[in-house]
């Protein structure tokens, strides 16, 4: 299936337009079946709410933010996005397995140490997690699904994530090139 492979020498990844087209079709299928788009940060948020609720239930109920996502006796983990994210993990594992990409490792530019890489991954995750709460969606749920559903909010999330990325890319260049 050579047409799937962009770089025939390495034979690693699918052609990006083919992958993007399939991704769009899956998103459409999700709209058609469940009436909603896909997401990712919402799944992590459910895990946070469930953890806070398990460790300190009164604190979760009194929290102005976490209490918004508590619905009676129903577990905060019992949401569409959590199930979808479990599927994503399984799908990625499957794709990694058939392409020989399963390996415990830290991927980083040779110019930085694994330790630096992990600290910046932690920092980036922290900013992304917090930013997604403020913007009410991340790249998947906010930008991609929101834009496809014609939300102005989705378009603004998309433009501000990539705009800020290109604007500040210079300052982070030593991590990548």
């Amino acid at each position: 299936m050579n047409f799937l492979i962009e770089d025939r020498k390495t034979r690693i990844y699918w052609n990006p337009y083919f992958g993007g087209f399939l991704l769009g079709l899956i998103l459409l299928f999700s709209f058609y079946m469940s009436g909603r788009g896909v997401g990712a940060s919402g799944g992590i948020k459910s895990a946070v709410v469930a953890t806070v609720n398990a460790v300190a239930p009164t604190h979760a109920e009194n929290s102005a933010y976490f209490s918004k996502f508590l619905k009676g006796d129903k577990s905060p983990l019992n949401t569409w996005l959590v199930f979808q994210m479990l599927g994503v993990i399984a799908g990625a594992f499957f794709s990694g397995a058939i392409n020989n990409r399963l390996k415990i490792r830290v991927q980083h530019s040779p110019k930085i140490s694994p330790k630096t890489r992990l600290w910046f991954a932690l920092l980036g995750g922290f900013l992304f997690g917090g930013g997604a709460q403020l913007a009410r969606g991340c790249t998947s749920g906010g930008a991609l699904s929101g834009f496809a559903a014609n939300s102005l909010g989705g378009l603004i999330i998309m433009v501000s994530i990539f705009g800020s990325g290109y604007l500040f890319a210079y300052f982070f260049r030593k991590l990548w090139i």
Partner: protein, 196 residues
């Protein structure tokens, strides 16, 4: 008439089953497109590999056009799709923070799960960071809730805010995407290769 599960043409018990199936399909396609590699994703910001932008924009315009077709065929009513509420200030600042997080980590939440699923420790650490970031946000929420709820524009669509018909809007986005793809292919040839 879709969406099938909310309209109970398919029983709601199936909703989480389809959530898992849709997730699996997403995971396979994104991992196979290279989204489990932070260095491949960041190529789009440093001009050595534009895969991320190409996949993302192709998916966005495919879904945008597809929604119009599904509405035209009467499969779904596009006006019933969930439109996220727009709070202008919070969305822009939140997006800017995510952009900086993206540069620092090379992942967004979705791609970090792909990386973690195939054993990349940096992906797992990112998820931990996102967990802490959300926890932190929840704890400081009373301090920032005024800003969080400021500049509310409602559940507003792109066409309502710009006053352009949806089919013309889709055409404009397709033209923008094709132009971007063309420009990227030119830039790509003039930038030094980065091995990763």
């Amino acid at each position: 008439m879709g969406p099938l599960i909310p309209n109970e043409i398919i029983s709601p018990e199936w909703n989480h089953v389809f959530a898992v199936l849709i997730g699996i399909a997403f995971g396979i396609v994104m991992e196979s497109s290279g989204f489990s590699s932070s260095r491949k994703i960041m190529g789009s910001f440093y001009a050595y590999d534009f895969t991320m932008i190409r996949v993302f924009m192709t998916a966005a315009i495919t879904a945008l056009i597809g929604v119009l077709y599904m509405d035209y065929f009467g499969w779904i009513d596009r006006t019933e799709l969930f439109v996220v509420p727009t709070y202008l200030g919070a969305t822009i600042i939140g997006g800017a923070l995510m952009g900086i997080g993206f540069l620092a980590a090379g992942f967004c939440p979705g791609t970090s799960f792909l990386a973690a699923a195939i054993g990349k420790v940096d992906g797992m650490v990112f998820i931990g960071g996102a967990f802490l970031g959300i926890l932190f946000f929840g704890e400081i929420f009373p301090l920032i809730s005024d800003f969080y709820y400021a500049n509310y524009l409602g559940h507003i669509t792109i066409e309502e805010s710009l006053g352009i018909a949806p089919d013309w809007l889709a055409l404009i986005f397709v033209v923008i995407a094709v132009a971007v793809f063309y420009v990227l292919s030119i830039i790509r040839k003039s930038v030094q290769k980065v091995k990763y």
